[in-house]
Amino acid sequence: MEVREIIARRAAQELNDGEVANLGFGMPTQAINYLPEGVNLIMHTENGAFGFGAKPTYESANSDISNAGSEPVTLLPGSACMSLATSLGAMRKGYIDVTILGALEVDQLGNIANWAVKRKNLWWPGIGGAMDLTYGTKKIIATLQHTDKAGQSKIKKKCTLPLTGKGCVKTIITEKAVFDVGESGLILREVYPGLTAEDIRAITEADFEVATPLKEMTL
């Protein structure tokens, strides 16, 4: 199974029926394809709607119904459009129950960094709504590949990139492991079938405890 699919499948298991969910670009949005039986979500899109659905056909696409990535979507019965200010206010005030976000880095304190990288020695900033989302949402699930292209751990002792949110991540999901962020640091909860805690220790910079029992991911 491909890395992105593993992460999307596992992340989908964190979603509960009836939750108001905001899924970030990339792997998080794929979680919608793997929702557990009986789980229906109220999907929030930052540009201003609750209750959007799947993408339309070419022939029926409405040029005024889009998601936060400027992609065409549909609006389901019971959906609501709102202004951008109201949408961001809902995020900031905590009306979004759960978010799954991509991350460049996470660390053992539950910090997440996902909006700035350096290009040509300049910070290339793209916050968008990510900070409002991490400020207000109670259940934040960070998804990322376990290591970068150079094989370095993306789960750090301390994030090196500018933070999106401080101490806000509840669960970290990679293609190899699932961590909870507890009061005193990370707890390794699950591993990809066949891997051991030592395997994860070898590729993870952050400190972590190991849950007993340590479970395998079911995908």
Partner: protein
């Protein structure tokens, strides 16, 4: 009621070199794309653009950066388009400060509503970190209210605002379609002179008062944009090309 319908050329005479211009739309959906095309044609330059994002790659607002017409961007993102990213990295596009999206829209709303500014807790402890943005002109001022530390953020206004709605009556009362309200109604009030580009212009009395998303009182000029059919066709093709849609 006086008609505010004028030609696009006449309306855009207020946009001059160096104008501070607020543009409605969210990544170029609900965006005044025909007016923007006209500004590109007219080669107006050194604009300060206030928009929630730079625009959609290869489309809409992005063409302003591609044609070197924008001096400064006040936004929440630098890189939603290749064109704005390149202009920024080449040192051509000045980004003195940028904001979380919620902060940006509330600064615009404060400007729209005649407020001095806002108190916002998002980003405290992160965006005021020493040395994060050396070019930052105004270091963040914080204030504690009800035990919560907040940034004091001044309101944002503009000399000219150009917004997009579905339809307008000749007085300028606007109705919006789908998710395209986004920031348009707030931007309308934040501009000193506001141009509303619409798909359809209808007689006064057509739009039910309870369905008016933005009163004509806040609008100075109404201009004809693409029709709904033309707009749907344009976006369907853009989305098809970007792989966001598939033909049957």
């Amino acid at each position: 009621m006086k008609s505010k319908v004028i030609s696009m050329d006449e309306a855009l005479d207020v946009v001059k070199d160096g104008t501070t211009l607020m543009l409605g739309g969210f990544i170029d959906v609900g965006s005044p794309i025909k007016s923007i095309e006209k500004i590109v044609e007219r080669k107006t330059k050194e604009l300060t653009v206030i928009a929630v994002t730079p625009g959609m790659a290869g489309f809409g607002k992005s063409m302003l950066y591609k044609n070197h017409q924008v001096k400064e961007l006040i936004s929440t993102h630098v890189g939603t388009s290749v064109e704005s990213t390149e202009a920024y990295l080449e040192g051509e596009l000045l980004v003195k400060e940028f904001f979380p999206m919620g902060t940006w829209i509330e600064k615009v709303r404060a400007g729209a509503m005649g407020l001095g500014g806002i108190l916002v807790p998002v980003g405290v402890g992160i965006l005021d970190e020493e040395g994060l943005f050396p070019k930052l002109e105004h270091p963040k001022q914080t204030l504690e209210v009800n035990g919560v530390k907040c940034f004091v953020e001044p309101a944002l206004t503009a000399e000219v605002a150009i917004i997009k709605a579905w339809r307008a009556d000749t007085f300028g009362n606007l109705e919006f379609r789908g998710t395209s309200l986004n920031d348009n109604a707030d931007i309308a009030m934040a501009g000193a002179y506001t141009i509303a580009e619409v798909n359809e212009i209808v007689p006064v009395g057509t739009i039910d008062p309870q369905n008016v998303g933005c009163s004509g009182v806040f609008i100075n000029a109404v201009v004809q944009g693409y029709s709904v059919e033309e707009q749907d066709a344009i976006y369907r093709d853009v989305w098809l090309k970007k792989g966001k849609l598939e033909k049957a």
